[in-house]
């Protein structure tokens, strides 16, 4: 069981032209900036190729490609290297921007594309589940965010109200 196998498989998939661009998000993406926190799956955000004349995004070529290479399907997940991997489209303007501005990192000589810390934090704020809020707090406590860059993302994606609410709930000393 190794996340590195997932990265290698997706790099190969990109080299073979199945996906145009991808980036690691979620808890695995956050691990590039924070201490590791247990997770059960890997979130890969990808620019799916659309059929000519169609506006629908279609992940089927990804599933077909990986099935041909012996990967099992588990519901919405493809199992690669023992890890359930979920392929997600860039479904919101924020995620689209995160994918466009994702950064290249290196894992023991293997290249990988990852969301920036600021985009991961903004996506966590927008998603807003308890575990997302916990992750956002981790980013803040670790000092892993560029404050100006983060604020600019929040402003561009109408998240300033959500941020003020989050600050009141979790970052204010006033009870």
């Amino acid at each position: 069981m190794a996340i590195k196998e997932v990265i290698q498989a997706i790099n190969q998939m990109q080299a073979d032209g199945v996906v145009e661009r991808y980036a690691v998000g979620g808890a695995v993406g956050a691990t590039f900036y924070l201490e590791p926190v247990a997770t059960l799956d890997v979130d890969i955000f990808a620019g799916f190729k659309s059929e000519p004349g169609s506006l629908m995004v279609n992940p089927q070529p990804i599933f077909d490609y990986l099935k041909e290479r012996g990967c099992a399907m588990e519901g919405e997940y493809v199992v690669i290297g023992g890890w359930p991997v979920q392929f997600l489209p860039a479904g919101t303007p924020l995620v689209e921007e995160a994918l466009r501005q994702s950064v290249n990192k290196d894992v023991d000589g293997t290249p990988v594309c990852v969301f920036t810390a600021e985009h991961l934090a903004a996506i966590a704020l927008q998603t807003g589940r308890a575990k997302d809020k916990a992750r956002l707090l981790q980013f803040i406590e670790a000092g892993a965010l560029d404050a100006a860059g983060f604020q600019a993302i929040l402003a561009r994606h109408s998240l300033l109200d959500a941020w003020r609410k989050f600050e009141r709930q979790f970052l204010s000393d006033i009870p």
Binding site: M1, A2, T31
Partner: protein, 66 residues
């Protein structure tokens, strides 16, 4: 060892910073190991071809009832 809560929190924070600063390859291997442990706790089968470093739990001994 101290039971001073402030010191405990500071030491937890220092450990988290230390973990965050580890090389990313090492942190991803920690995720592999954490997932295996989580699955084991939940009672799901763990793939046997695992190459992640892990610890075997000691066998549970039954108490003799006299």
């Amino acid at each position: 060892m101290s039971l001073d809560l402030q010191k405990i929190l500071e030491s937890k924070s220092a450990l988290r910073r230390k973990l965050a600063a580890r090389p990313v390859g090492e942190k991803l291997r920690m995720l592999d190991a954490l997932r295996e442990r989580e699955l084991a706790i939940r009672g799901r089968p763990v793939p046997t071809d695992s190459r992640a470093v892990h610890e075997e739990a000691a066998p549970i001994r039954k108490k003799r009832v006299k």
